[in-house]
Amino acid sequence: MKPTIAIREPVVDDLMDQTEKILTEEQIEKVINEVIDQETGVRLQTYVDTCIHCGLCAEACHWYLSNDRDVSFAPVTKVKDTIWVMLEKKGKVDAAFIKRCSQIAHTECNVCRRCGMYCPFGIDIAYMMLVVRRICAKLEMVPLYLQDTVNSHAATMNQMWVKPDEWIDTLQWQEEEAQGYVPSARLPLEKEGAEIMYSVIGPEPKFLAQLLGNITVIMKVAGLDWTMPATAGWDNSNMAMYSGDFEVMARVERLHHETAQRLKVKKIVMGECGHAFRGGEYDGPTWLGWMSPPIPIVHAVAFYYDLIKSGRIKIAKKVEGPVTAQYPCNIVRNAGLGSKLRYIMSAVCEDFVDLIPNDRHAFCCNAGGDTINCGPPWKKIRVQSAKIQSENFKRTGAHTIVTPCHNCHSGVEDIVDGYKLGMHVKFFSELLIEAMEIPEHLKPKEE
């Protein structure tokens, strides 16, 4: 089979460039065969044997559609250029090939699983891309910025090198901020036996601290018994899951769940993040052999749905004007929360304009699956390849896009900037805090 012609602007990625220089062909062969023999089992082989090369998956992929149907971005091409060659050559490939594999699997695929839904045989192409990432990670062929987040996970158990004192300090600061709205609001740390442990991803204390203040107000108004850990284990994000470093992924997920167990809570509620939910609910427990999480995990969308539907939170003033929402792959296509997202959006917005296609058929923000964490060197092609979703946003005519996922939030901000859409990008909690009713007795008393 002739190699695919892929035209890309050269990208400087210090780690990948360095790894390319030092990798030996013996190392590569050993790792490829190890992963394929010991970790993929029969699943990968059956997928490869069953694929009839029909190319129907191409239509599903926003990379392919956004780049004027460039075949080198089609899902089947990505498999051809990576897995097929590895299998055919029995791992005898060179470092330049592995670098290209990492480029394809880490920077040009969001493992959003849309293509799996377009394959008549249900071949999970994203799974194959994760196998490629696994091989690359074991060979340390990972984009620099992504590897940095994995290193942070390994060293600090959070994604952004947040130090223990900074974490506690940020929470106390946000507790005070929240008390500006609701003086009796508390952000309880280390409360053993609380009903809910609330966990967030590293970027929240790092640069989105106001979200911690928001949840403090929401929890108070809803009258819930909740807590947050003061120790490591508060971060539910997991970039190692996406880089392919499953050993670190497992450590992060184990600590997250064990922290909840230590606090003896009944459930974990997590902030608005898609991949964190995937890690905590599926990938982590599966890799650890638990199969399902020991303590139930509730995503923010499901949590807010319950609060609004049960009337624990009442809406005082709906957000005016057209508002749309991005459907994060990991909580909608891959977790079925689409209808709940629509419910809460309609509850809080006067004019919720749905995306087309919506729900599990919606396109990825093109930031998820770690591609945004690959950092600035890979940003240009990422934003360029989100063209299809930028058109979908534009069509809604909304003034605000709600993104109940951190990756989506950053990705959609890049789309809005890159395509000059002139829209605001907000988390759902930011809308809720404006729209919800704060009961009289909780309001600050005027002097």
Binding site: H53, E59, A74, M117, T286, N334
Partner: protein, 215 residues
């Protein structure tokens, strides 16, 4: 020659087809057992749900978006399987040898069904040659598989209409059918066996495990 291809070779072909298929499925299932998570991700209900949504035409959004491909693919596969099984000529041979028979489709209909299969092959060939994505992932083996699939029907059509060299074409027809049977378990034609399992796994993962849908 005719005696050989229509006698022992038929036996050999069927033994390899059935034995090879069973072996392949056995190997897949025993390999899958080693994967601790695979079976625990599966549920019969969601597997069937997925299969039903994908074997009924236009029963999912995706097929509704691709009407031509859907119509061609469904009619191609239906005719591909039904024509040889219910063809009068085949049933007569079976009746003569083993004295068993079942419902047959009229020859006129079977003739059209054969044309549908051949037309389907031409459609797929056209896609392989013109669609850039498909072209990029096509090599000799894809054309070979297409030829293996088309030949029994092309030769069958010529033989039925006795267009020329009846005896030779008939031998070629039987041979082509046997090659196809033998090829099924050992080539990508094995999607005939495996699509049920890959579909079931994806359907289960999406439905049972991830509380979503895959159609």
């Amino acid at each position: 020659m005719y005696e050989f291809v229509s006698g022992p070779l038929v036996w050999i072909a069927f033994i390899i087809f059935v034995g090879g298929s069973l072996y392949k499925i056995y190997r897949m299932l025993s390999g899958a057992k080693k994967d601790m998570t695979l079976f625990r991700h599966m549920s019969l209900k969601h597997s069937l749900n997925s299969l039903v949504h994908w074997v009924i035409p236009f029963n999912n959004q995706y097929m509704q978006k691709r009407p031509i491909f859907t119509i061609v693919s469904f009619s191609f596969h239906i005719c591909l399987i039904l024509t040889p099984v219910f063809l009068l000529g085949h049933l007569v041979l079976l009746d003569e040898s083993w004295n068993i028979s079942w419902f047959n489709i009229p020859d006129g209909v079977a003739d059209w069904m054969t044309i549908v299969v051949i037309a389907g092959c031409i459609f797929y060939l056209y896609r392989r040659l013109t669609d850039p994505v498909v072209k990029n992932v096509t090599d000799g083996s894809d054309y070979l598989l297409l030829a293996i699939t088309a030949l029994p029907f092309i030769t069958g059509f010529i033989a039925y209409h006795q267009l020329f060299a009846y005896k030779t074409i008939l031998i070629l027809h039987i041979l082509a059918g046997e090659i196809m049977l033998i090829a099924i378990p050992f080539t990508r034609l094995s999607h005939m066996l495996f699509f049920v399992f890959t579909r079931a796994l994806f359907g289960s993962e999406q439905g049972y495990w991830k509380h979503s849908k895959d159609w």
